[in-house]
Symmetry: C2
Subunit: 275 residues, 2 copies
């Protein structure tokens, strides 16, 4: 088996943008093997020189031509990086040039503007959303539902908490979640405390087999984890959500990122965001 090809994600800040773009591009080539090296905070010309040396050394050692995905804001750093013996995908170099012509303004190379705290208001509202979501996790504080952007409901282990937290962290949405349990199934309909908020309620479901597997990892051998219990609870929840006209997302084959994007797309405002 051939050795995997080295890939470097180089950034002068957190490296998140380089990693997202890089993994996204590599994901289009299946059957290839890559070894990922993250080099964040490469924020001086000395560090760039050290990175170039590291790339060239790695190339010699493993005998493969490396790939480099770079988000470097400093043009001199970008020039230096090009001296390494690798395929350099210079994200900023390419697209900032296009933008500069279009906008009629030169970019100001400033680091860390994408994942930093430059927009303090937006950052704090994301952190507030995370705190809100923790406070309103798993049925806690239903008094806060009135000010929630969204409420997720579903049986235990249907993915409510990770999805809520992801939406809070990524989109700054205040997402509460409510667990549908046997107590709720002892009477018809959805729990009364959800009635005033149906317009912002979403259901989460998944295949009973998958749910049983997740619960079994959590509480091995319990009645809670049996396929029968899972089937029954999922059915009870589905009937009630459907009767109330609540949209339901199936998380069996969807990541939290996919569920979050799907739900967010359906939210009415804002039509656009100003930055």
């Amino acid at each position: 088996m051939p050795s995997s090809r080295p890939v470097f994600f180089i950034s002068d800040h957190t490296g998140l943008t380089a990693e997202v773009i890089g993994k996204s591009l590599l994901s289009q080539f299946s059957g290839q093997h890559f070894q990922i090296h993250n080099l964040p905070f490469i924020d001086s010309l000395d560090k760039i020189r050290a990175a170039v040396t590291r790339i060239d050394t790695t190339a010699r050692e493993c005998g493969r031509h490396p790939l480099v995905v770079a988000t470097l804001t400093d043009p001199s750093a970008r020039e230096l990086l090009k001296t390494c013996d690798a395929l350099v995908m210079d994200i900023y170099g390419h697209f900032l040039g296009m933008l500069e012509s279009e906008l009629g303004a030169a970019p100001q190379p400033r680091r860390g503007r994408a994942h930093g705290m430059q927009d303090l208001g937006a950052y704090h509202s994301r952190m507030d959303a995370v705190n809100f979501t923790l406070d309103a996790d798993d049925g806690l504080n239903p008094g806060k539902y009135a000010v929630a952007d969204l409420i997720l409901a579903g049986v235990s282990r249907s993915g409510k908490t990770p999805t809520s937290l992801y939406m809070a962290m990524q989109y700054g949405l205040r997402v509460a979640n409510y667990p549908l349990t046997q107590d709720d199934f002892d009477r018809p309909g959805l729990p009364p405390l959800l009635h005033p908020h149906l317009g912002k309620l979403w259901g989460l479901t998944l295949a009973p087999e998958r749910l049983a597997q997740i619960r079994e990892e959590r509480r091995p051998g319990s009645r809670y984890a049996t396929l029968e219990t899972c089937r029954r609870e999922l059915h009870e929840a589905a009937v009630r959500l459907h009767a109330a006209g609540v949209p339901v997302v199936d998380s069996t084959h969807r990541s939290v990122e996919e569920i979050a994007a799907l739900i967010k797309q359906s939210l009415p405002p804002p039509p656009h965001q100003e930055i």
Copy 2:
């Protein structure tokens, strides 16, 4: 004041990659105003045609030439998108071409490989990490510290929980967190339950003024929120963390993304990740 320039992030999947790249590029142009339109799940040629119409309509209505950042895996979709009257930054079109020559293999246009569940093992370990972090949040279950990748310690409201959750969600790390409170300050040193885990302990701190502001929002008028209390607790924590040789990150001017990237960079393994 001139109207803001419309920007479209177009993707055939969640839109996360397009948004990260787009915001990262735009952040280099200060003093410009942009209105962001997210168009995720544009996964058919009909939807592309509708998107082109929407872009052209928006351009006519606001009289500004739009910017488009696109991550479309289907080459026909990319061709269609180019017919709109906008500056189209075609991320895949540009870099996949470079990669194709380098790798000697054609990309397989498959959607959703960057933020989906294709790598089930990696996805589940991220979700397990989120569950671990919730179970070991705020001093809960210290028995789990032995299997944590990292433990964050700091006074109440120093940012431990959002940072822990972000690291779990983004990097799949099992991050516990422990709140340093008056009980811990009544005796010298760090709490004994942290002693066996100093090698994976990190401290979080922030400016007392900022902490007082955060606490005041949480519990207005409380002694907990006074500058005096904040100063004293931060000092007590700092002395103990320093004496134990625990590295400390200041979150006053750092986002959770920045803190997470800083801490992760310092973790010894893995030197690289295989994908």
